[in-house]
Amino acid sequence: MDLVLTSEQQELRAAVRDLLTDHADSARVRTAMDSDTGHDAELWRRLGTDLGVLGLAVPEELGGAGAGHVERSVLAAELGRALVPSPFLASAVFVLDTLLALPAQPARDELAAALASGERIAALAVAEDGAGVFDPGPSATRATRSGDGWRIEGRKSPVLSGEVADVLVVHAVTDDGPALFLVEAGASGLTRARLASIDPTRRLARIDLAGTPATRLDGDAAAALSAAGDRGAVALAAEQTAGIERAMELTVEYAKIRVQFGRPIGSYQAVKHGCADMYAAWEQSESAVRYAAWAADHDPGALPLAAAVAGVYVGPRYFEVATGMVQYHGGIGYTWEHDAHLFYKRAKSDELLLGTPGAQRARLAGLLNI
């Protein structure tokens, strides 16, 4: 296994970081998160077209870069580090991975290419009643044949980037079992309502489908969601790990210059040892992500366990580190003006996006056969 980035991968990281330094500093992040769409369309275009990184894990024949999950984890990390509000996770991770786990078919191939270029944005409408993003639960959403196509009746919530998406990948139950469908943004009977969220840098929506026309995708929906869930967990863990690193860096930086009682607060063990624990959490998270991303590319059989370990370990660590970030910044860290709260809120939304910590550990326990 390779746990160290190659020089090409490090160059990719530098290129993305350069782009985001120029186009996604704190002020721009705040502008984007407060905008109507909740993201910066211009930055999206740069990622998709100029840098061409939205399809890093997509084969070249489907319009992607033909790199892999290690490369995509590097991109996810940089976006997470800068807290970039974007449809990346929904469109270029959750949906793309789901599509790639289905058999080749025109509708899939066409959409994958459009997502890899950033030309279109998609969202995964699977969860109902506030479950994790990949969890259809005991789905109450039904799809029935209607002429050549299908019509869907049901409600999906939460749907990450559901409002901004051009197309939705919807999980619904048919007479012959669960399946995935494509629903266009403009389809009849489709309504989308923005949900309130703890995380100002994320947009989530409720989707109502009332006899909405849909295109059925061939393939095993459960298997595709499971495969995509593992890959999505890797990208999410990469984002979280980079968040840990950045939160730690900013905290350490502040602890060096903030003086109380005649010396920098970073010289006090309460703060110093807290920062050391952040560092230990980061080193281990980074190792978990490196391995899981490598497994996604080179040892798919090991991926479910590797992804579950990363999810179980990294999620709570990010929130702990972000909590420490606010704490060691003291009053300034509690203001809206400072970015600490954005890390805190992102860490909480990331921790719960794929289900409760207990559910994630239960999944790991299942894989471990305990």
Binding site: A127, G130, S197, T323, G331, I332, E337, L352
Partner: protein, 411 residues
């Protein structure tokens, strides 16, 4: 038969309970006029300044009555928020340290709910280290001119007066050159700006002072003895915070989270966390109750209040974690108008405040270690050094003063 003290207290409680039931607004609006009216009603009924000396306009009663008031008031959401600082901190400090003229001028309008007070201690560069404050009071004639910035000031937007700490002598060591003044919050040169916190609300303010004049009659206590005055006032704060705990709705109590569990369903792991949360919440309640019983029995709580403060803050962190186990993605996003989810969000986002404001967890642990356990102090590198030779906050040059800084908050 003579009336025993116990009978008298029982009667006090009975009367009070009836009064509260008849006078506390059912759905308080929370606005300042309502608070003023309610404080006036408290005063008229004889419940304003219960333990203050009669000579200062108070009721001259003892800790037993105060405790009864706290217990009975706990069942209500009393609209007294704007008066907590005046009645709990500034007023008692004036009782302790004020001149006769200051008592005459400031106490009656406060007790009657006519004037609101705020406390101006914290600064961008002086959070945990309050004595590191940089707000300058430069002598000018028989008075002083104040220049600097204060943060985390509750009430400043509607306060009439503030108790402010300012540095009258930067050549003395930091604790020795501070004076406490009464400042007119509407004085020329004083600007109040709301400070948006991470919940998106603005319950606190920044206060900028640019050449605000105070006179010799505005000194509270003695010149350059402001640190002692501040310690006096903070001693009252501890009592206020622990004594007047009010019914508050929060999404992070065991009860609220148990409801959440009933709504979303629970699994054994969530139940495990929830039971553990209950145990932590309950033992803290029992600790607080035991403290009150010991206080009534005559034992001063002293620094043990730090235990309640610290444990309460840690309890909220535990509750945030437990909430995630119960709510999962429902804690990430929810329908507009879902008040349960919104209250969970508010609780989650205000939990850091409980761990920082009024002395961080780190400060509380230091108090417990130093004052209760008697552990040796850390080396104090800023003792005995003239303030002007110290670095404070995040200033990068010694010449820099607070008025030139961006607000930075306390640590």
């Amino acid at each position: 038969m003579t009336t025993t003290a116990e009978d008298r207290l029982h009667e006090y409680r009975r009367t009070l309970r009836a009064w509260l039931a008849g006078h506390v607004p059912e759905n308080p609006t929370g606005d300042v006029e309502e608070a003023k009216a309610f404080q006036a009603a408290l005063h008229d009924a004889g419940y304003s300044g219960i333990t203050w000396p009669a000579g200062s306009g108070g009721q001259g009663l003892g800790p037993a009555e105060q405790q009864i008031f706290a217990e009975e008031a706990a069942a209500f959401e009393m609209p007294v928020r704007p008066f907590l600082i005046g009645m709990g901190m500034c007023g008692p400090t004036i009782v302790d340290l004020g001149t006769d003229e200051q008592k005459r001028r400031y106490l009656p309008p406060l007790l009657r709910g006519e004037e609101i007070w705020c406390q101006l201690f914290s600064e961008p560069g002086a959070g945990s280290d309050v004595a590191g404050l940089q707000c300058r009071a430069v002598a000018d004639g028989d008075g002083w001119v104040l220049t600097g910035a204060k943060v985390w000031t509750s009430n400043a937007q509607w306060a009439d007066y503030g108790a402010i700490l300012a540095r009258t002598d930067p050549d003395r060591p930091k604790h020795g050159g501070i004076t406490m003044f009464v400042v007119d919050m509407r004085a020329p040169g004083l600007t109040v700006r709301p400070l948006v916190d991470m919940t998106g609300g603005a319950p606190f303010n920044e206060v900028y002072l640019d050449g605000v004049r105070v006179g010799p009659d505005d000194v509270l206590g003695q010149v350059n003895a402001g640190w002692a005055a501040a310690v006096t006032m903070l001693g009252h704060e501890r009592v206020t915070i622990s004594g007047l705990r009010q019914k508050r709705s929060s999404g992070l109590t065991f009860e609220a989270l148990a409801d959440l569990g009933r709504r979303h369903g629970t699994d054994p792991v969530a139940r495990d966390r929830l039971a553990d949360l209950y145990a932590h919440q309950r033992v803290l309640e029992l600790f607080n109750a035991r403290m009150r019983q010991e206080t009534v029995a005559g034992a001063a709580p002293g620094s043990r209040g730090s235990v309640g403060k610290l444990a309460g803050a840690m309890l909220l962190r535990r509750a945030v974690d437990t909430a995630g186990h119960l709510a999962g993605a429902n804690m990430v996003a929810w329908e507009d108008g879902d008040t349960g989810a919104a209250s969970l969000e508010l609780g989650t986002n205000s939990t850091p405040a409980s761990n920082i404001a009024g002395g961080t967890n780190e400060i509380q642990r230091g108090i417990i270690g130093d004052r209760i356990l008697g552990l040796p102090r850390e080396p104090q590198v800023d003792r005995g050094v003239a303030f002007r030779d110290l670095t404070v906050g995040t200033q990068t040059s010694a010449a820099e003063t607070s008025s030139e800084q961006t607000p930075k908050g306390g640590s």
